[in-house]
Homo-oligomer: 231 residues x 2
């Protein structure tokens, strides 16, 4: 029987790649995003937890998920002095934190035992981020969710695991445009990350619950994934 | 010349105590909260950063603040399975995180050099919080703000310091009602905390910027304040 995965942030750059990878590996894919666009077939924008769960269960028809993968996120700058710092914080919290809390809730209700939850962290969360309060605080909150969902009493199904994924920088069209002169030999490709995500979801034995995996890449080498304590 | 302090969360239990303490120590007090009630004279609810700054500057009439104290916060339970977990997350993020980002912005714009910023952390943020994702992730985000605002490039005025305040449990009417049989001899009183806050604001040399102060209390002893790394 085909395995089932819920991908959140499915319409984003990484999300589309992840969805493609699951689809080509014969998973039954539920692709969710704030709007039903860019390949997403479950629109979660503006839905509360109860309505989102109901919409998901309609698609699951009594089955349960093998994995919940949230790659929603985005990026925002903003130091304390920045006039946009509060608005950017709200945007980052909504895309990274609220989506991850919803992912946790949907996993608690609809994941199989020994299933896997993957949440969108960031390498920046391991240190202060004076240059971006919105990005840093949102990703720190996601890292805290990872350790909390892996802890005793998380209410996830028995044996379920939760990990975070912490890119330093990914090779996206946006990053290429923003940093045209940068050395891209250390940028992990979306394909590499999507492939690793599918591999983990197919065999959650490969991961250590409660860890955040730093995505690292040396020039000319494939991307590496290093398990680290979230905070 | 009287020193000036902005207290955010002024209408709450701790906020009222803090305002009282500043007022009786001859500070010029600007008491802010989401609504102008319970002693608050600056209503910030629904205001963006620009409007909040304008409202503050109208009260400051060209002067600058010696301290910004945010004691907004609250408490919410909510494990992953809880139907209210997303709504409770939004409430906690709004009260603790957005207020703290706004406090940071107002401090960047209106604090004096060598002034002090105090933000509302929590002892719970030093570990996983499976029992409350909303509370834990919000307070972790605040602790991250503390370390980021104390870091190089924070854009706060020169020499300004930022600390967090991390209560385990405070002696409030709500906590008494929620835990009628608890041993209250280890609960710090609001008076003790308010007194310490005023002392720090009067002499920021007493604090180490970037630290979060754990409020601890042994039975029969005054409350202690222990500086700890935020994360």
């Amino acid at each position: 029987m085909a395995r089932r995965v819920l991908v959140m942030g499915a319409a984003g750059q990484l999300g589309r790649q992840v969805c493609g990878r699951f689809a080509s590996s014969s998973w039954r894919l539920i692709a969710a995003d704030v709007v039903a666009a860019g390949g997403a077939d479950l629109a979660l924008g503006g839905l509360g937890a109860a309505a989102a769960l109901e919409a998901l269960q309609e698609k699951l028809r009594g089955e349960r998920l093998d994995a919940v993968v949230n790659v929603a996120g985005g990026f925002a700058m903003g130091s304390a002095q920045d006039a946009e710092v509060l608005d950017n914080t709200k945007a980052m919290v909504e895309s990274s934190v609220y989506s991850s809390v919803l992912a946790a809730h949907l996993a608690a209700k609809a994941l199989k035992e020994e299933g896997l939850v993957i949440l969108p962290g960031a390498a920046a969360a391991w240190g202060p981020t004076a240059w971006s309060l919105p990005y840093g605080l949102s990703k720190v909150a996601v890292h805290h969710l990872v350790r909390s969902l892996a802890a005793e009493g998380s209410t996830l199904p028995k044996g379920a695991k939760t990990i975070g994924l912490a890119p330093q920088i990914l090779d996206t069209p946006q990053n290429r445009a923003a940093m045209p002169d940068a050395d891209r030999s250390t940028w992990a490709s979306l394909e590499e990350v999507a492939e690793q995500i599918e591999r983990w979801c197919a065999d959650p034995q490969l991961v250590q619950s409660g860890q955040v995996y730093l995505i690292d890449k040396a020039p000319g080498q494939p991307a590496g994934f290093e398990a680290k304590d979230p905070l």
